[in-house]
Amino acid sequence: MSSAIARPTTGRGLPRRLVTVSLFLLPALALYALFVLLPIVQAAHYSLYKWNGLEPLTNFIGLDNYVKAFNDKGFRTAVSNNLLVIVLSLAIQIPFALGLAVLLNRRFPGRAVFRLIFFLPYVLSEAIAGIVFSLMLRPEALVDTGLTTVGLGALIQDWLGDTHIVMITVFFIISWKYFGFHMILLLAGLQGIPREIEEAARIDGADAVGVFRHVTLPLLGPTLRVSVFLSMIGALQLFDMVWVTTGGGPLNATNTMAIAMFRAGFEKSQMGYGSALAVVLFLFGLLVALAYQRFVLRRDVEGAVTAYNG
């Protein structure tokens, strides 16, 4: 690319190149603009109106929908629930997946079977997993009878009905669904680490913890950072599992931003307000993504970009 620019242009070469480039870009660009950029702009536009989705777009109310969103107790619960899932995912789900990946990276009989078993939940659709769990978690159903059988009947809770614990229940179901995905990602990362480096460390006298702490973990960094990133974005967009198991209830206890948006738009026919919530959710996602790229992923991305420019 740079060599092309350095060469004195003949007056025809550059435009022709540009035409070729834009011709090849056009289809992808048009689709991206039509299905990604335009809807975002539209949502931002709708969010400035009070609109039920059917009538003409006439009732302009400025930023009132955004003011309403931050005064809405249900939406504030939604934001804090999303943040809670992010924190719990990073604190529990990913370390758990990492531990399993390290275990399954060792050689032992039946390793492939275990990998398959742990990855299986991820293959299930969210709706099916949600329905199965809500059936199992019903009072006097599988989970409760199971606990009673092993003598832990005292631990039984109204898993999906008690507003104090329902969010933890939901987090457990999400983790069950997604730990296998992160485990596979990390496992792939682990397998990319050359054995010689670990061996060299061991020969130099490092113990198992030392090897993991100072060799494996740093080399697993890029994979781990991508895993964390996907987990955060997934937590922000949380919808399916919650919708199927609790519908955001009881009493908004498991509300998430995506659920608040869906309910405003499709249940209450407040398309303007729903669009405002969608924009807020989008900005949250964008902010997290940009900040993460800027401060965390830069090390990984930089290499790729430099190579491209060079």
Binding site: G53, L54, P139, E140, T246, P250, L251, S269
Partner: protein, 450 residues
Amino acid sequence: MSRRLRSFGALGALAILVAACSGSGTATQAPATQAPATQAAATTAPATPAPASEAPSAAPVAVEWWHITTGEPGKTIFQGFADAYMAAHPNVKINLTVLENEAFKTKLATTMQSGQAPDLFQSWGGGIMAAQADAGMLKDITADVASWKDTVNPGAMSIYAYNGKQYGVPWDMGMIGVWYNKALFAKAGITAPPATWDEFLADVTKLKNSGTYPLAIAGKDKWPSMHIWTYLLLRGGGSKALTDMIQSGNWNTDACKAAGNEVLKLVALNPFQAGYKSADYNAEAASVGNGKAAMEVMGQWAPSVQNDQSTSKKGLGADLGWFPFPAITGGAGAATDGVGGGNGIAVGKNASPEALDFLKFISSPENANKINAANMGLSPVAGTAASVTDPNLQAVLAGRDKATFMQLYLDQATSPAMGSAINDATVALFLGASTPEEACQAITTAAAAQ
């Protein structure tokens, strides 16, 4: 010079080309619209020996019909209506789209946002239908149904009218009441269904002491308990007070708070089934259908859903009974006032005369009797009561026909935003998370934001 000339020439050629294109465009358009007609004449000719002069009426017409009767036998019966009509009118093609309730609502909303509406689609009348009519998505069928509208129960018909115009036709209209398990009542030593709210509360205690869950509700779906609250409001405050609250948007009234206090009396008895906070309506129906809970306050569809959701798929059978919601002693409302509603078919803005003719066909006594006989609903078509054979549904029908006042389900009579606020506010009462004052204030606030 030559260069400039050439570009002028090119421009001229371009202009001719554009003209030619647009010319040919309009030229081809005319035959294109005629093409289907000729094709139709050709295809219908062998089937019906009718002469070609009848071509206009025999032109093929497609009718889009969306309904939500996903269960049997209703699904087959609706398909049967379409098949019978298509057999009699070979030029009409009725395309059925059968959707699950929630999926239907979402799909209809997105379709209407794109400016389209199916010809015929499921409707509950009330506030949502009014919003659709305001948006110009519905067809005013007042004149079209004038010749046969008197064959349908006027109260049921009025649910599908808005600002004096008819936009749809009901095929099912019933009344909410209390469905109960006779065997569990007998076990608890209750000899007759309660006639007053105080008796009802006493019976709840008796049922609880006999070791069953007295009442099933659905905390996840919210609306089942909302109907209990509406009845308490209607019985205590009366139909006029309720109508005033809906119209004024001021729910900070004594009648509203009194209804909330009656709910709290019920909640204090801890009468609900295990897991009621997170139960959806299917789970509620299952606990009644499996004989675990003794009562539910529900509409005419309750028996079929109980059967469907019960482990045996047969429900309670002869043990199932129905009684009207009890009266409140000293309350302003009549014991014969009801909360009701049902299912109907709304007519989309571009519906053809064939679609309306099919609607009339569905509303014929012959087809209404099929709806009744299959326990799909209670047809509002006059003279079809005899085809209701189930004694419980006969009781519901009797209640409907002698109702002194009929309030459409509150979450459907009002706008979607209001309905949602009413459901949220009332379920909070039943889950013990709100005071009556807070509930009434929440509904008033939602009304003010309209």
